[in-house]
Amino acid sequence: MGLALPAPDIARALIRISHEILERNSGSANITLLGIPTRGAHLAKRIASAMEKIEGTSVQMGTLDITLHRDDLRMRAPRALMPTVIPPLGVEGRDVVLIDDVLFSGRTIRAALDALGEIGRPKSVQLAVLVDRGHRQLPIRADFVGKNLPTSIEQSVVVHLTELDGADEVLIEGPLP
C-alpha cells in the first residue's frame, strides 16, 4: 500500500480547486456545489468553506445521491440511499459543480448527470475530483482535478478523510503497474 497523497497535498489541492472554480465561473454567485455521497459530500463542504473564505459570501452547497441511477445495482447487495440535499436556489439555470473523491470509469458521474436531470436543468455542469486515476469507460472528463494518479486496473485507490476516517490521505492498494 502506497501513500499517494499526504494530508498537506490534499489540503493544497482543495484550495487550488476552489480558486479554479471561482476563476472559471467568475465568482460564486451562480455556483451550486453538489457533493456525491459519501466522501464527495465532505469534499464539497471543504471546497464551499474555502470559497466562502476567498469570496466572503456564502456558497450554495448540497449533496446528490446517485444510487438510484447506478448501472451496477444488481452486482452488489442492496444499498442504502444517501441523502440528496438541494440548496435553496435549486439547480435550475445554475452552474452546478459536481464533486467526488475519485474519477475512475466515469459511471458514477454518468449516474450523477441522470440524477441531476431529475431535479432540474442547470445552465452548466462541471466536475471536480480529488483524484483522477484514469481507466475511463465513458466519454467523461473532469474540469478540476486535485491530482492525476496513474494506476493499473488491478489497483484500487482509497481516499480517507478526517471526517470519516480520522485522517486525510490517499492510498494506492494492490500490485504496482
Binding site: T38, D65, L68, H69, L73, R74, M75, R76, A77, P78, R79, A80, L81, M82, P83, T84, D114, G117, E118, I119, G120
Partner: protein, 318 residues
Amino acid sequence: MKHLLSINDLSKVDAISILDTAQELARVSDGPMKKLPTLRGRTIVNLFAEDSTRTRISFEAAAKRLSADVINFSSKGSSISKGESLKDTAQTLQAMGADAVIIRHSASGAAQRLADSKWMSGSVINAGDGTHEHPSQALLDAFTIRKHLSKGADDLTGLRVAIVGDVLHSRVARSNVLLLSKLGAQVVLVAPPTLLPVGVESWPCQISYDLDEVIANVDAIMMLRIQLERMSEMYFPNAREYSRYFGLNSDRIRAMKAGAIVMHPGPMNRGLEITADAADGARSVIVEQVANGVSIRMAILYLLLAGNQEFAETGVSS
C-alpha cells in the same frame, strides 16, 4: 432480505432503513420527474386474489416510478376466480419470469406458502394475507407517525398509539402492533372483547375496552374498518352501539392531546367507525397515509429488488 411476509422478518434496523429509504424516495415523488430507472427490466406481478383497489394501485404506482414492468393479475376475470390453485398460479408466474410477486390473498399465510414453496423463485411481498398481516401498511403508518411526531428521532420511542376496532379480523392491527412496538412506541388496542382474539394477551401491547379512557393520552389513533357483516355474526349488537362506544367523533377528537393525529388504513365506513368531521378534520392524516404508501412501497421494492440478494446476507450495504 428476499421476501417481505411479516413484520417479524424485519429487525428494528431493517425497519428504520425502509423508513429512511422511503423518506429519500418521497423526494422523487415530490419532484418534477417521477420516474427513476432503478428497476428497469424487472418484472413485478401484482397478484391480487382479493379485491383491493388502493393497495394494488399503490404498489403499481411504486413499481412504475421505479421503471419496473408491472403485470396485474387480479381475481376478477382471471384464472384465480376460476378456482386455479395457488400452486398453478405461482408456476405460471414463474414461467413468465416474475422477479417479484406482490400478493393479496384471503387466506392467512398465503404469502408465506408462496415464498416457502418451490413453486416460484422470485421475491414475495405480502400485500395482506387473510387476517394475518399487512406489513407495507404498517410501515407506511409508522412512516406517517414518525414524520409527524418523532421530532427527528429515527424511531418512535416514547409515543403512544391506540389501534381501535376490529382487531380480531385485522391484518393491519397485527402488523402495526409488531412494528410500532419494535420501533419503541407503546401500543394500546381498544376494542370490544368480542373483537379481540383469544391469545391477544401475548402480544406486545396493552388492551383496553374503553376508548374514552385511552383517547386523552395517545399521540396517534388508528381507526380500523369495521365490516357490517360482523353485526350479523354477533360481535356487537348493532352499528349505533358500536359507534357510541368505539367510533371516533368530534367529541372524542376534542378530547385528544394537542398535536395528536388521526389515522385510518381505509377504506373508511364513514358514520360507523369514524365520523366525516373526524376523518376530514385538522388532525386527520388519512390522505397523507395514501401518499406515504407509495414511498414506502417504492422503498420495499427498491430494497428487495434493486440489489443482488446473493450478497444480501448482512442486510443493506452503504
